[in-house]
């Protein structure tokens, strides 16, 4: 006797995301792209002020191993008003740390919709797409979009000027804004 083959519905592909707030708006980021979450005052290492006039969204950096990590204020990155930030996401495999207001919750998304073609400026780099959660549309950020290679080059140059012996010593800085 031949048993009827059981037909299984294809598994829905899901992705764990973190909903976070920045400047009063909610964004989502894949939890796989966040390596650590820290309070701004609990960051190991000594954050240093960095002043690169062309990149006002980056005001601090710190050393992790051999690399400089640059702290990007998420609200300023998205062109929103500046609000006090309380948490930092250290992003996996990137030299970017993200300053955010707070975490809303962790959840799962089952569908990521492409950003409609009518959005045709920097937001195409900012976002991986949009997801719909509880009848709300949430932009899902692209972790690599916070600092481009060109921006990292500019920041590295500014950091090396900062580290140069003739530069005045930079003390520990308060990351809160």
């Amino acid at each position: 006797m031949q048993l009827a083959t059981a037909h299984k519905a294809p598994a829905v592909r899901t992705e764990q995301i973190i909903l976070f707030r920045s400047s009063g708006q909610v964004f989502a980021i894949s939890s796989a792209s966040v390596q650590e979450v820290r309070a701004v005052d609990g960051l190991a290492g000594s954050p240093q002020a960095i002043n690169e006039p062309s990149l006002p969204k980056v005001r601090h950096m710190f050393r992790r191993g051999e690399s400089n990590l640059y702290v990007v204020h998420a609200g300023l990155h998205f062109g929103l008003r500046q609000t006090p930030a309380s948490l930092i996401f250290l992003l996996r495999k990137l030299r970017t740390a993200l300053l955010i207001d707070g975490i809303e919750k962790m959840t799962t998304m089952t569908r990521l919709q492409a950003l409609p073609g009518a959005f045709c400026h920097e937001e195409r780099l900012w976002y991986r797409g949009l997801t719909v959660l509880d009848q709300s549309v949430i932009p899902v950020v692209n972790p690599a979009g916070f600092l481009t290679d060109d921006e990292l080059f500019v920041l590295d140059a500014a950091a090396s000027r900062l580290m140069a012996p003739e530069a005045p010593p930079a003390g520990e800085m308060d990351l809160s804004v």
Partner: protein
């Protein structure tokens, strides 16, 4: 020669933006929907107001009234959801309109070289000469416009 040059009678949808009426080729219209919640998030495309949800799909809202009439719409009665071809795919854009829409079949006069890029053709209806709109020229995100830098530093949310 555009697609419209070759055709005489075409089905068009008349739409109202404030005091003026415009038309779109009926084949570009997906649906006419009542205003619903507009979701807004940070972006840098000033022509886009936000997005609406239609059957689980995200549709950008593009208010073309200011570009066409010089005034923003004071009231949104419906969203006319129109389709645009982008290469092999089709995407939608929701145009807020301030009054009833009407489906008509009418002879079209092709746009001339001196007409604005947003004019695809002309039609005459009820003693009124009406522009048939070229959505690709009127709404952002046509292939030529993708990733052009913006001047305005602030985001629209």
């Amino acid at each position: 020669m555009s697609q419209m040059d070759q055709l005489d009678a075409r089905s068009c949808v008349l739409l109202r933006l404030g005091e003026r009426r415009f038309a779109l080729a009926a084949e570009q219209i997906a649906e006419l929907v009542a205003p619903s919640r507009v979701y807004r998030f940070a972006h840098r495309t000033p022509e886009i107001d936000g997005v609406i949800l239609r059957r689980g799909r995200v549709v950008p809202v593009c208010d073309v009234a200011e570009k066409l009439t010089g005034k923003k719409l004071t009231s949104r009665r419906f969203y006319l959801v129109a389709t645009r071809k982008r290469g092999t795919s089709v995407d939608c854009v929701a145009l807020p309109v301030s009054g009833e829409c009407e489906l008509i079949t009418v002879d079209l006069t092709p746009a001339g070289e001196s007409d604005s890029p947003h004019v695809a053709a002309w039609l005459s209806h009820d003693g009124e000469v009406i522009e048939v709109l070229n959505l690709d020229a009127l709404t952002p995100g046509s292939t030529a416009a993708v990733m052009q830098p913006t001047v305005a530093p602030e985001a629209h949310a």
